[in-house]
């Protein structure tokens, strides 16, 4: 048996199989469930590290399985795939630890962790998809696996949020399916190929190809929360904090953004997309989303909703990077895929901690949380500053490359968008930081649970945000070192453009 | 008053269907169908173990159809039983009718036996014989015999399912030890057909009579133990 041909599948199964087993566990089997969760997460991390090394050395990892004649399931580890896989694997490990701490005493944990694992498997599947069919398959499985997580709490709010979420994502999935089938009927099986495959397509199907691009974009835009398809995201905030963290930083929105990147670079090819004006359309859409999301975030008092709209805005940087013709902006967009994940997951972990320990759900209740929960607040501060783009946090690097790339491509209006959005970012994050550190704490927190131990909160809830904050900081500080997201993004950009 | 569906649409549709059917049928009989299967069938009758061509077809050439048909009969009866118990039945008849029935029933049974036997070389066979047996049961039921002269439920169940069982088992045995499913060895064909037909006659007769009762037979038959 050829190990190289099985590694991608093994990475997928390393979380899929524990997930299936967890469903079967009795509710009380706490220890076994934790063992399964952690084994899966660590095993996956090990396999991914192995794979990164291999891809660096030029190994070709590809699993190909024929589902039916003409329909192949392809899992392939190219540089772009590895970037996303590494992000999701790392963050899954952290989020699993956090979720174990967070849901310690809540009901239906077997169901929760089962779907949690399947959700990550689907994300990894999306990352490793080697053709459009495989992408569609995992994109839909992701919808199926996240629905129970959003609905998990079982409150009327949760039911409503889940319903909205499902309506949006099913609609998006249907559009993606239509686009994919249409495209495949025109040009045959669509393998993701560096530089795209449509550059050589005959002139007479060009109009159809452009139409298909917009159908695909609409399908992917739902998960990527492109305005006006973002409506589900704030609604899905009813989910437990680890789910929000996963949805926003790793799985759902990233899947959409990643899909847009794939379609632009590896299906249409950036040159074809540029020549036919598709990039401009994407850029405008992304810019509108960036500004709109930031403006909406400004008006939210609920902390999680403010973070949600911030996600709407920040994820579109990735699409923005893809929409600017030129390798530098590509680096900016790609690297933001990772950086946004690290920063946003930190923020959500912290929001969960505030809610859990102090009952604080609103920005207006955050006065003085800095002194009450210094470590959590420190992590939150790092994340928030990163989002604004303050050096040396990772977000600065992304924005720097995006701006540089825009200048390089002569798209000065993009720089204006970047500046405006950074100002807006500052406008909705800085007041929070001000409240947290410089306002006096209230006499009484909304709903305080004092943690018995030495730390401000249980270790399983404290360490994850601290770790991700440190990672976000390091990704910015040591951006030029080998094996950083930035270096990897440069590698991808080189390969997409350097033919 | 004219109801459009009933008075216009359906009749017009029927006229169209009838025209199409008639035209097709005309073309079919005036066409090149020729002998159809008649010649083939008649030519093989001597090999079938019986000399009545219809019985040859029913119990040899197309015996499998007949097996499934017995299953249809059984399914119908089981369905009837699942729907409820039989009606209490008629009052016992006065002496004239009773006497007549008592005279007729043995005659019908005798005729059934004859029909069964004669089916091998002349019109007749298991279905005709079964029908006669069934009518004997109907007659008994009309004359007030509570279970149409049928035996107790346990035995009745055996009786109604017997035809399918004997038929299917014969077929399977011939498959295991002989030349194939329901492939009679020529020397035994006559007797195997008779065996199957006898079982089928009993089942058909019992089924028809039991179906006439319209439901599960009463737990303990009070009158008319035998038919």
């Amino acid at each position: 048996m050829n190990f190289d041909a099985w590694l991608p599948a093994a990475i997928l199964l390393s979380s899929m199989i524990p997930g299936m087993l967890i469903f079967l566990l009795r509710e009380e089997s706490h220890r076994l469930r934790t063992v399964l969760n952690m084994t899966g997460a660590l095993l996956k991390l090990g396999l991914v590290i192995w794979m990164i090394g291999g891809v660096y050395d030029g190994h070709r990892y590809e699993t190909r399985w024929t589902l039916a004649p003409g329909l192949d399931l392809v899992l392939r580890a190219d540089a772009l795939a590895v970037l996303f896989v590494a992000l999701s694997t790392l963050l899954w490990l952290v989020t699993t630890i956090y979720a174990i701490g967070y849901l310690e005493h809540s009901p239906n944990r077997s169901r929760f962790f089962g779907f949690f694992s399947i959700c990550v498997s689907a994300t990894v599947g999306i990352a490793l998809s080697g053709n459009l069919l495989t992408f569609v398959i995992f994109y839909e499985i992701l919808t199926l696996a996240t629905y129970p997580l959003v609905a998990h709490r079982g409150t009327p709010d949760a039911a409503h949020g889940a319903k909205v979420y499902l309506a949006y994502t099913m609609g998006g999935g249907a559009l993606l399916l239509v686009g994919a089938i249409w495209l495949q009927a025109l040009v045959g099986p669509v393998e993701f190929t560096q530089g795209g495959i449509l550059g050589v397509s005959p002139e007479e199907i060009r109009i159809e190809l452009i139409l298909i691009f917009f159908v695909l974009l609409a399908g992917l835009g739902v998960k990527a929360a492109l305005v006006p398809l973002h409506g589900w995201l704030p609604q899905a905030m009813v989910a437990p904090a680890p789910v929000s963290a996963l949805l926003h930083a790793v799985a759902v929105v990233k899947a959409g953004a990643f899909g847009i990147v794939r379609v632009v670079y590896d299906v249409y090819g950036v040159e074809f997309a540029y020549a036919n004006g598709l990039l401009v359309a994407l850029g405008i859409l992304a810019s509108v989303t960036i500004i709109y999301g930031s403006l909406m975030a400004l008006t939210q008092d609920s902390l999680k909703k403010r973070l949600a709209y911030s996600t709407v805005s920040q994820v579109s940087y990735i699409a923005l990077g893809a929409s600017i013709f030129g390798p530098i902006a590509t680096i900016g967009g790609m690297v933001h895929l990772v950086h946004q994940g690290l920063m946003k997951i930190t923020l959500f972990f912290c929001a969960g901690n505030y809610a859990e320990t102090l009952g604080v759900h609103k920005v207006s209740e955050m006065d003085g949380v800095g002194r009450r929960m210094p470590w959590t607040s420190l992590a939150f501060t790092v994340g928030a500053l990163g989002m604004i783009g303050v050096p040396p946090v990772a977000g600065f690097v992304s924005k720097w490359y995006l701006g540089l790339g825009a200048a390089d491509a002569g798209s000065n209006w993009v720089i204006a968008v970047l500046i405006a959005s950074s100002l807006l970012n500052a406008a909705y994050f800085l007041p929070i930081l001000h409240r947290a550190w410089f306002r006096p704490a209230p006499k009484q927190w909304p709903q305080e649970h004092r943690h018995a131990g030495r730390l401000e909160i249980a270790g399983a809830l404290l360490w994850p945000p601290v770790i991700t904050a440190v990672l976000a900081l390091s990704a910015g500080l040591f951006a030029a070192a080998p094996f950083t997201p930035l270096e990897w993004a440069s590698l991808i950009a080189e390969r997409e453009y350097g033919r | 008053m004219i109801r459009p569906l009933e008075h216009i649409i359906i009749p017009l549709g029927l006229i169209a269907v009838g025209g199409l059917l008639g035209w097709s049928f005309f073309l079919a009989v005036t066409g090149e169908a020729g002998e159809r299967l008649a010649a083939v069938a008649l030519a093989r009758v001597p090999d079938s173990g019986v000399s009545n061509p219809v019985t040859s077809v029913l119990l040899n050439f197309r015996a499998y159809d007949t097996l499934l048909e017995l299953a249809v009969l059984l399914a119908a009866l089981l369905g009837i039983w699942s729907l409820g118990a039989a009606a209490p039945g008629f009052q016992p008849a006065a002496s004239v009718l009773d006497g007549m029935v008592n005279g007729f029933v043995p005659l019908l049974i005798l005729s059934a036996g004859y029909m069964l036997w004669v089916g091998a070389y002349a019109p007749g066979g298991a279905f005709q014989a079964g029908a006669l047996l069934g009518s004997a049961g109907v007659m008994l039921a009309l004359a007030g015999h509570r279970n149409a002269g049928l035996p107790s439920e346990g035995r009745l169940r055996l009786l109604v399912a017997l035809g399918v069982f004997v038929f299917a088992m014969t077929g399977l045995l011939l498959m295991v030890v002989g030349d194939g499913f329901l492939t009679y060895p020529p020397s035994l064909a006559k007797w195997l057909i008779l065996l199957i037909e006898t079982a089928a006659t009993l089942s058909i007769g019992a089924t028809l009579a039991a179906a006439y009762l319209g439901g599960r037979p009463a737990a303990r038959p009070t009158t008319g133990e035998t038919a």
Binding site: A174 | L20, Y64, L68, G79, V177
Partner: protein, 480 residues
């Protein structure tokens, strides 16, 4: 000595029916044994077709045209395998579901129905098919009325009558065919048939009768009440197998008998009715208040998808593309069969636990039965046509072919159906998320929950990830 699995698959359940008829008090043991043996012999037929090619048995040794033959090609073998897996699961489930009194009625009728199914899939004789259709229809109607409620009896009487009308139409077609061509064997009729009013009328009569039995819109009216009011294992059999058998036969006749006389108008008519069924059935399923009624309307919609295949098949020239399309249609039918049976079986458990099947009040019951809820979820994924189910692959292939042919409107219809299906399935699944914690045991009653779960798993993961074997099977005589 030789054992021929073809007649065995039909006669074993008959002998089983005899055994359970004569010993009604102890029906379950012999019933399950007969179920196991029947399924084993039918699956061995499929295995033999897989490895050795088309199987044929001349019953009585006469051969056609005089005798009747049974034949298993790839198409029959595929349907046979699906039907027998589903029937076995239903049998195991029924062993736990029915109590004494209904069990004694269920088992013999159920084995007779099974015999009719196997007989129908293996038959090659047009008149013999009529007999199997009647055996199927009678036993199905009787089984459907087993709950004994007035609604069930009335609905199944209607089903019986409609079925009889359908068979009568079919038989009229057979009489016409025999009058014109003098043979009844499918292969011989196919050789003799030529375009003209006879072939046309016969096709209209036979396929018309069958779409009545397959509940194609607008002849679907009898299905929802009949299927929704039957006992759960019977509903599963009716929805997953009985209507599929009618579709199988229509497809078989279409492909093998009437191939020379097909035209686009007839195919488009069937496709249009199918499209209407998809939209109307899905819509009614969405509005249904009861879980089993929802499942029944969903069957109406699912049958619609299958008939959309006809215009696509006619428009695709023979060759690889058409073979793939045919296989996709079969895959769709098989996945639906498995999924719908799983759905009904699981719904039966939920109904038993809750004491009712009103969707809006299902909360606790659904959460207390994780295995059953998972079965509903898995079956739902397959019914919607989401990955990784067999339906997803099948729909992908059908839609891709539709787009290649430029027939984009079938894509629109199927996407509408898909979205409506998602809406009605998740309407049920959303009930499984409740506030109150429930003691979590995945399986509560293995005998009833596992069959449902297994069917759901095969429909979703089995046929969705490994559909390739179906092509190998259909290579055996089913491709043009």
């Amino acid at each position: 000595m030789m054992i021929d699995a073809l007649p065995l698959s039909v006669t074993l359940p008959l002998i089983g029916a005899f055994a359970v008829t004569v010993s009604p008090g102890h029906a379950r043991g012999p019933g399950l044994l007969a179920a196991l043996l029947t399924a084993a012999s039918a699956l061995s037929v499929t295995a033999a077709v897989w490895s050795d090619g088309v199987l044929r048995a001349d019953l009585g040794g006469w051969g056609v045209p005089l005798g009747i033959a049974l034949e298993a090609d790839g198409l029959s073998a595929a349907f046979l395998a699906m039907a027998n897996v589903v029937a076995l699961a239903i049998s195991v489930y029924a062993g736990g579901y029915f109590k004494q009194e209904s069990a004694r009625h269920f088992w013999p009728l159920w084995l007779l129905l099974w015999s009719a199914l196997n007989g129908l899939f293996l038959a090659t004789d047009l008149f013999n098919l009529y007999v199997t259709l009647e055996l199927l229809g009678l036993s199905a109607a009787a089984l459907g009325a087993l709950t004994g409620t007035r609604e069930a009896v009335a609905a199944n009487l209607r089903y019986l009558l409609v079925g009889l009308l359908g068979s009568m139409s079919y038989l009229l077609g057979v009489a016409l065919v025999y009058a014109a061509y003098g043979v009844l064997d499918i292969g011989l009729v196919a050789e003799a048939i030529e375009p003209g009013p006879i072939a046309w009328t016969a096709m209209a009569l036979m396929i018309g009768g069958l779409i009545l039995k397959a509940a194609l819109f607008p002849m679907h009216f009898w299905l929802p009440p009949a299927h929704a009011n039957a006992p759960a294992p019977v509903s599963a059999a009716l929805s997953a197998l009985v209507v599929k058998a009618a579709f199988y036969l229509a497809l078989r006749l279409w492909l093998d008998v009437f191939a020379p006389v097909l035209n686009e108008a007839a195919a488009n008519l069937l496709g249009t009715l199918g499209a209407a069924a998809v939209v109307w059935g899905s819509w009614r399923a969405l509005r249904a208040e009861r879980l089993k009624l929802l499942a029944a309307y969903s069957t109406v919609a699912q049958m619609g998808y299958l008939f959309i295949a006809f215009p696509l098949l006619v428009a695709t020239p023979p060759g690889l593309a058409r073979d793939n399309l045919l296989a996709a249609v079969v895959l769709l039918a098989l996945t639906h069969g498995l999924a719908k049976a799983g759905l009904f079986l699981a719904a039966g458990m939920v109904q038993k636990t809750a004491g009712h099947d009103r969707i809006d009040d299902l909360g606790g019951a659904a959460q207390a039965l994780p295995a059953a809820t998972f079965a509903i979820g898995l079956a739902g994924v397959a019914l919607i046509g989401l990955p990784p189910s067999g339906t997803f692959l099948a729909k992908w292939m059908m839609l891709e072919q539709a787009m290649i042919l430029g027939l984009w409107w079938w894509l629109v219809v199927m996407m509408i159906g898909t979205l409506l299906a998602a809406a009605y399935i998740f309407r049920v699944l959303s009930r499984a998320f409740n506030r109150e914690p429930t003691p979590y045991r995945f399986v509560n009653d293995a005998r009833t929950e596992l069959p449902a779960l297994l069917l759901g798993l095969i429909a979703t993961f089995g046929l969705g990830i490994a559909a390739q074997p179906l092509w190998v099977l259909l290579e055996q005589g089913a491709f043009g």
